[in-house]
Structures are given as structure tokens and as C-alpha cells.
Amino acid sequence: MKRKYIVLLIILALPLLDVFYACCNCDTITEEKFYTNSGFSLKNIDNSGSEPLETTSASINKKAYGIRLQVNRQSLAFLKKQINQPLFSSSAYAMSCECDPEVTYDHTDKVESIKIITLNDFNADKPANSEITEYFKTQKKYLDVNEVIKGLNYDFDYLLKETEYFDLLLMIQPLETNVQHQFKVVITFENKQPVELITTVNLI
């Protein structure tokens, strides 16, 4: 007889437990939107000061030169809806109390690689049309250019960052004799044509 009561109590307690864990009051629907990297631009930066600044100056100090890759993103019309339904109660994410975002923005065009090519002679090892990607590093953390790919393929929660830029600093200086330089940035995608951007500068 007693065992029956215990089983009955456990069955009744299950929905109560679910309600107990439903402390977050999360929305049950996550809108999964998509975005595309709609436009890229390339600018010269002068890092002589405390922070890099965009410049249109023809000549820049070669020890403080860098390029700024700017990307514009655009939200696309189609979306998916994901419904999160707990077992009994209407709003709950058991245990964690962390809600899924109400809206997410996933990338559609996946960037595969970023290459930087010098169009003029850079130094003895790198004549014109050589790849010099390894000479550039990200600002502050000095990571490889590949790290920018992660930023371009980023899936956003809540809000789409419509404009973002990535600063790449030139860490190896060209030969004294080579002043005029042109750098080409080639961005390749998994599912669309590559993008090519060119910038010109005198490195003094």
C-alpha cells in the first residue's frame, strides 16, 4: 500500500519539478535568420599613434603601416523558426537558466581563405606577385590573417553587426629601395566568386 503512494507521489512530482526548473521564462521561439557579406573595402591605416587611423595620405611610415578590411553585412529575407518546447511547462530550459537567443543571424557565404599579395617587389624573398600574408598580423593580438576568416564567418546572436573592420598590421618592412607598393587582398568563398581588393601606398 505504501509503495503505491510513493509511486503516485513521484508521478505527481515530475511536472512540479519541471515547473521548479522553469525559472527563466524564456521565449519558446528562436528566429534563425541569415546574412551575407554584401561588400568589402580596403583602406590604408597609419598606426603611428596609440590606435590605427584610416588615412588617404600617399606616404605612410613603413614601421607603422597596415590595411583595414571593412565588411558590410546584409540580413536576408528568409528565416527558419525553431520552437523550444519543454516537457510539461510552457517555458523552461532545465537546470541552466540560460535562454536561447530570440534571433540568430547565420552566415550564408562561407569565406575559405584570405591571401595578401604584393604586386611590386617587396624584398629579396618576395618579388612582385608573391604572397606575403604571413607578413601581416591582426592588431593587438598579433594573430595570423586566418583569424579574420573566423570573424567573417561569425554567426551572430540577437543583433547583426552590419559594418565591421579588421586591421592587419605589416610586421616585416620592405627594402629601403622599394618605396612604391601595391597590395592585393584576395578573399575566396566556398560557394561564390572570389573578391579582390587593391590598395596603393608609398612606404617610407
Binding site: N47, S50, K137
Partner: protein
């Protein structure tokens, strides 16, 4: 000769006073468990400074300050007891300290670099905890307790960081100062308490103590080129004898008395 005379006078006073107290023994020496709350002036006689930037990262207040203390005394014999004492030291003014660290870094590096600093302090008020023996001399109205205690003084060693961006170049560096989180130093505290018994339960107390500890810790200064990841490490060692005195006024509550 002069010292010997002083010593004889002192001994004579102690022996004589002990005799006087002994005459009134019938009504004294009744308290068993006492609790004391005091407030007073702590005066450090020296500081740990080495005129280095790490001086600003050490949470040890070397300025005179008013601080509270609490203690519990328990008499295991007529004239012998034990005492547990907590003295609440106040820490440095963290805003001023961080500003001084920033100033030091600027003076040192601002000619060639753009300087950013951070030296956050998460320190709480670390009490100086001591435990020791108490010798008891009492009359009906007065008491005198010479004491000798041992314990630990905790000094918080905050982390400091300087970010350097070289002027007119793409180079950046970091300078990190790390000394662990804290160090606790063995501390010796001789002291004397004297006072007047207002009632059976409440006494007023005047205490004077001196404390001594020896610092022995090292800050590691790591200079890193953020591009090449090359590092240079320098050790900044602090080894110093530290003395301070604490003069406090307090109230004693007699929680338990001998029947």
C-alpha cells in the same frame, strides 16, 4: 650601570605590585572568559617600499591608521590565560594606488610608448590573527596583563599590467607584475593591557602592543613582445623586517566568572 638600575627598579615594581595585588586576592582573579572590543591607532615604523612600481601593488598600509580589534581571553589558571586576537588592518586606498601605479608607468615609459595600465585590487580586510599567553595581575578594581602572542600577517600582492604601444611603429609590449595572490608572514606580538573594572561585567581597557614580522616574497616582472612572443623576466625581491605598534582603548565584557 644605568640600564641595571632601571632593570632593578622595574623588577622591584613588578614584585611589589604583585604583592599588593596578592593582598586583595580574595576579590580578584574571578573572571574566566572575557571578550574585548577595541579601537585605536596603528603606527607602522617602516614600510616595504623599494621605489619600484610593485610598491603600489602591495596591499599593506604603511601609514598611521585607526583600526578596530577584537579578542577573547580565557584563563586556564589563576594567573595564566590564553588570548585569541583579531586586528583589522585597513588596506591602501585602491584608487590612489592605481593612479600612482599609472603615474609611475607613465614616467618610466611614456617617452617612447603609449601607456595603458591596470592594477585591480580585490583585497578584503585581512585581519592579523594572533594567539598567545597572558599573565594576570589583578586587584578588585585594576588589572595588568602582560602578553606574548604569535600569529600571521597577511599581505595581498595584487597583479599589475602595463600595455605599451610603441610610438611610430606597429610593435606592442606587455609588462606583467605577478607576486602570487597573497603571503602570510609569521608575526610576534608582545603587548600589555591595563584597565579599570567599572562593574563586575564591564571593564575599560588600554592596550599597547608591538608587532614584528619579516617579509620574504618576490614579484615577477615579465616583459613580453606581443608580436615575437619573446619574454624577459626580472625578479623583484622584498625582504624586510617590519615593525609597528598599536595603542587602543576598549571595553571588556566578562562572560564567565569563577564561582
Amino acid at each position: 650601570m644605568k640600564n641595571i638600575n632601571i632593570l632593578i627598579c622595574l623588577l622591584f615594581t613588578i614584585v611589589l605590585s604583585n604583592r599588593i595585588y596578592s593582598q586583595e586576592e580574595g576579590s580578584a582573579y574571578k573572571s574566566k572568559l572575557l571578550f574585548k572590543a577595541s579601537y585605536g591607532l596603528n603606527i607602522p615604523f617602516n614600510n616595504m617600499n623599494q621605489n619600484r612600481e610593485t610598491d603600489y601593488l602591495i596591499d599593506y598600509n604603511d601609514k598611521p591608521q585607526m583600526i578596530p580589534s577584537i579578542s577573547a581571553l580565557f584563563f586556564i589558571r589563576k594567573q595564566l590565560g590564553v588570548e585569541l586576537n583579531l586586528k583589522f588592518t585597513t588596506l591602501k586606498d585602491n584608487t590612489k594606488t592605481e593612479e600612482s601605479f599609472k603615474q609611475f608607468a607613465n614616467n618610466q615609459y611614456s617617452e617612447n610608448y603609449f601607456v595603458n595600465t591596470s592594477a585591480p585590487s580585490y583585497s578584503l580586510h585581512d585581519p592579523v590573527v594572533t594567539f598567545g599567553i597572558v599573565y594576570r595581575l589583578e586587584t578588585d578594581k585594576m588589572y595588568l596583563y602582560p602578553k606574548l602572542a604569535f600569529g600571521g600577517t597577511t599581505v595581498d600582492l595584487n597583479r599589475g599590467e602595463i600595455q605599451l604601444k610603441e610610438k611610430n611603429t606597429n610593435n606592442a609590449y606587455s609588462v606583467i607584475y605577478s607576486g602570487g595572490v597573497y603571503e602570510t608572514f609569521f608575526t610576534v606580538v608582545p603587548s600589555v593591557s591595563a584597565g579599570y573594572k567599572l562593574t563586575k561585567r564591564f571593564w575599560v581597557d588600554l592596550s599597547v602592543n608591538a608587532s614584528y614580522f619579516k617579509t620574504d616574497f618576490t614579484y615577477d616582472k615579465t616583459f613580453t613582445n606581443l608580436y615575437t612572443k619573446e619574454t624577459q623576466t626580472e625578479n623583484i625581491t622584498y625582504k624586510k623586517n617590519m615593525f609597528d605598534t598599536y595603542i587602543s582603548l576598549g571595553v571588556i565584557y566578562v562572560a564567565a566568572r569563577k564561582k
